[in-house]
Symmetry: C2
Subunit: 326 residues, 2 copies
């Protein structure tokens, strides 16, 4: 597949990852519904293999590599969740994986990649160019570069989360008013939004981003891709990207309503809430969307809102800070 993926590609991806990815449920919490005065349905992708949704797209992409090319390996750059998704998919498919990770990536993510047998190459997030480093590795080895969002199989793979959401909403007999999703490069919300709106065309989509890293929100308002002023400086590391993706943005410009934001403190509060009431472990950049419900950026009263918890790979020191806020 080349070019922009469609709903049939997402259905095809669902077949491809079936039996490999976790079919995560749609959860609901009484305390949350009461507090927000609406109905919130939660998709806990922290329960996905490797602790984030990224395994979906990675397995879908890697399983399309021709047998004859698999020995050359794959290369990916990522702060950690895509890295782990690629490392596990590679291991399951018998493909060598090299992962380019920033030196400040959370230890739990670096450790996860190592546990899955990935070969790690470090770089400095402020000064290094991860794309250049990856490109060099690819040229040396003939490996396949696996982008974290700008790839049709990746977008379609992440979209399988949206198919599951749509199926579960159907089973509940519920029509969603809106869906809020943590957004870095925009692959998950592109695929998931497409799958949910295929079934529920009136469902609004909100990209949730870290305060100060709202490239999607500003790009959607401007109608073109704009960059963030900074490259680092938030604990929501999973969704710090310079700018919306080349392939994802045209999809998202078409289907998204707008952007919303949460501060780092908001995400710590909501990690504690999720721990206490939902019994789930969220990481800061996996809790951003949830935080935009509790900080009031997304209006939830008398509405049906779907929210994704996109990852749970959090270092204990950050998690303790969240518990301290209870």
């Amino acid at each position: 597949m080349s070019g922009s993926p469609g709903i049939d590609d997402i259905r095809d991806a669902a077949q491809q990852i079936s039996g490999q990815a976790v079919r995560t449920p749609l959860l609901e919490n009484d305390t949350l519904n009461e507090r927000l005065g609406g109905r919130v349905l939660i998709k806990p992708e922290c329960l996905q293999r490797t602790g984030s949704f990224k395994f979906r797209g990675a397995y879908n992409r890697l399983s399309r590599i021709a047998d004859a090319d698999r020995h050359k390996g794959v290369v990916a750059f990522s702060s950690g969740n895509h890295a782990q998704g690629v490392a596990l998919a590679a291991k399951l498919l018998g493909i060598p994986a090299t992962i380019v990770m920033p030196s400040d990536a959370p230890a739990i993510k670096v450790e996860g990649v190592g546990r899955m047998g990935g070969n790690i190459v470090s770089y400095d997030r402020a000064t290094g160019d991860r794309e250049a480093i990856s490109q060099e590795l690819v040229e040396e080895s003939g490996a396949v570069l696996v982008p974290s969002y700008d790839d049709p199989h990746i977008i379609a793979g992440q979209g399988t989360a949206g198919l599951e959401i749509a199926d579960d909403l159907d089973a509940l007999g519920v029509t969603p008013d809106q869906l809020v999703c943590c957004t870095g490069g925009g692959g998950l919300i592109a695929g998931t939004g497409m799958a949910v709106r295929d079934r529920f065309p009136d469902c609004a989509l909100w990209a949730a981003e870290p305060e100060g890293f709202d490239d999607h929100g500003r790009s959607l308002a401007a109608g073109e891709r704009v960059e963030n002023p900074r490259r680092a400086g938030s604990i929501q590391d999973a969704i710090i990207t310079p700018t919306p993706g080349r392939l994802t943005f045209p999809i998202n410009r078409e289907q998204l309503t707008g952007g919303v934001t949460a501060s780092d403190a908001d995400t710590l509060d909501v990690i504690a809430f999720i721990w206490k009431h939902l019994k789930l472990v969220a990481e800061p950049g996996g809790a951003t969307a949830f935080a935009t419900l509790l900080n009031g950026q997304v209006a939830t009263r008398d509405k049906v809102t779907v929210v994704l918890i996109t990852g749970g790979n959090v270092d204990p020191v950050i998690f303790r800070q969240a518990l301290d806020r209870l």
Copy 2:
């Protein structure tokens, strides 16, 4: 229904709680499987409404109370998880609930009961008689006493977790060798064991208990109900009961293979493991069964093992102690 419940009562309970209880998934973890050299399938009942499986039985029981009797209310005694299950089921059904709780119950459980509108009566676990206190409340009000395990509707309700496990195993095409379940009064393992063995008759069942509170293990060995020497003194508060139930023990004597135990330290280690690798929040007495896999009491090599995480209502101070062990 009176007397001992059967598989049809469990199926009937599944109908009764459908749309009210969370249909929890069956999860699997690569790191865990590798470490244990077998395949482990995890039923995360910490994701159930009120944070433990207890809502299943409570809703099944309370929904059977005749309309004309509902205004008289219900009374339950519990260290916290059954209390919350009853309080929420009562709220949903419009029934007043009074809960008799030990004064040393975890704050998070007391708070949960209060949030759901339950009226709390405290007693001292070492000197008070919760059955006598409850009986007095029932005689005053005409309320229905809701036992935490010795009731056929409660056992059948808890058994719905086992039906879901059996359905998911079927869908995976997997035959379980054994199932390990945290055991207090024995209601969950009685119902769940019955449902799983109805589909997989050769599945062994293990009751997991706190070290020093192994009344089931010793009762199974003796062929009759024996008591624990102590009533308190473990952080695994959810499954500290004096002795196996009158109604549950005949069922469990028939179907269980034996008992296994975990120390408090084992459960703290496993809470940290579950946090790190499964992104779930377990409480000590909800992690006991899982701990008996990691401490080696249950042999898992080359076997398919089903394990239940039965609750996640843990106070932050205990949870921090678990994280400190990472």
